[in-house]
Amino acid sequence: MSIQYKSISDLSKMLKAKDISNEELIQETFKLIDGNKHLNTFVTLNKENSLKKAKNLDDNPSDLSLSGIPIAQKDLFVTKDLRTTCGSNMLSNFIPPYSATVIENLENAGCISVGKTNMDEFAMGSSNETSFYGNVYNPWGDDLVPGGSSGGSAAAVAAGIVPAATGTDTGGSIRQPASLCGITGIKPTYGRISRWGMIAFASSLDQAGPMARTAEDCAIMMNEMCSHDFKDTTSLDEPIPDFTQDLDAPIKGLKMGIIKEFDLSKLDNEVVKVFEESIKHYESLGVEFEEISLPNINLSVPTYYVIAPAECSSNLSRFDGVKYGKRCDKPEDLEDLYIRSRSEGFGDEVKRRILIGSYVLSAGFYDAYYKKAQQVRRLIKNDFDKAFSKVDLIISPTTRGTAFKAGSVNDPIQMYLEDLFTVPANLAGLPGISIPNGFVNEKPLGLQLIGNSLQEKRLLNVAHNFQISSDWHLRTPSSEIK
């Protein structure tokens, strides 16, 4: 029985009905991984342990919500005794002595972590072309990028290998690849999911979240991933709702804002048409639309490219070739050890961002760049606060277009603009979701919904309403492209 493209609830039902054993499910998953090797979605597999855990579940069945469900974990979450590279040569030999809270939460709910997914190095990239372990490819077409940085997770879900995967989103790294791969991905409110055990990129922006084919599966994952964690001082101590409850509650009368300042005339006509169709679709479900103004939103990308590199240069100074990770051969002295270990361990994009960070934080430039960007960040957040006094949600395309060919974007700034529509939610710490909403030239596109702080449940409810009345999320690469 094929397990490809099955949802979490499908697989749970199959396991409960004994249509398939836990061991068979995991064996089938590894067959799918094998059959999709060309996509390069995984850096490290966890086959032996996964099969052992599955056999154990066959002998001792459990009622846990994710019991026996194969999940792919982004290689940015540390996993005890399982190599964690963060897409970097720097950590090519790193075996963590502990697991991230997200991993513990999911595994305590019974899931089986089948492997670690490929990603842009240290999550810095929007096409999964900066990984030391090679490009990830999008199952929707030859040589297409899956987006990034959670490109391996997105491609693994889009190819139907696993029903769900973990991702992280600093400037769009869950939503942008979800859009380009035709799947669903949610970035929760900053602080909703513990960052303990996430290898830090930009600490005031980083947030983990689930990626799956449906909003319903994202809700099941959210229920387990969210927790208040005393090991992360920015972890929110707020009530965590049951995200799966009332998913299909009607959304009639809901008010959505369309951002005046997002100039869609610069986008491909077909891309705009897909967005407009989605607005009509929501109108048919009783949603009301209103134009809103976020006067500073077009400053989000430049603001982000001061703040994120600044935090990255500080966070990545821990990689010094001394305590763990890569060390250069035969260092002459301590300084040579630092310089050569870092120069050999990091790739070009990571080095670029460390340098920008060091520049904007250096004496004489701090006020002009870092402080200035933080001030603009507040203006952007204030704009959102004002907008949410008028509307319940904000709607926009997730990306400017569909997946592009690997190697076709060589200018760093053009690549940075991939995150034009996704970065604002990170700066303001707001939750955002991307759902499949159409195709252009047989390539999927995503629709982004941004909610006010802690409104993940509302986002999932609104996304689910779209999905029970459309079938974009059910299209699969093998059914579209023969």
């Binding site: 430049p302 002295d333 310089i339 250096s362 001030q375 603009v376 960040r377 957040k381």
Partner: protein
């Protein structure tokens, strides 16, 4: 942003580039800094910097021992270590 500035921030970042890459990285950084320079035109007088979207005071906890000594596990990941210490090239003659 010129070659000299790039050399200074490279050293501050403990990174090294060969001649060929130096050109490219200087151009890239120049373009990126030009790009973020558009922030300059925004009036931010009297605006407090936003350092984190939470704006909450970091939580504290009682100072209790919560972890056991796992020295061996941590030293096992080190490129070079003895039983007690991370080892680096000699720094004191």
């Amino acid at each position: 942003m010129d070659k000299e500035t790039v050399a200074t921030i490279s050293y501050l970042s403990r990174l090294k580039f060969d001649k060929q890459n130096e050109e490219k990285i200087t151009t890239d950084l120049k373009n990126i800094i030009n790009f973020v320079d558009q922030l300059e035109s925004v009036d931010t007088s009297d605006i407090d910097p936003l350092t984190s979207p939470l704006e909450k005071i970091a939580k504290t906890r009682t100072d209790e021992v919560t972890a056991s000594n796992r020295k061996k596990e941590f030293l096992d990941n080190a490129p070079d270590a003895n039983e007690d210490y991370f080892l680096v090239p000699r720094v004191v003659e």
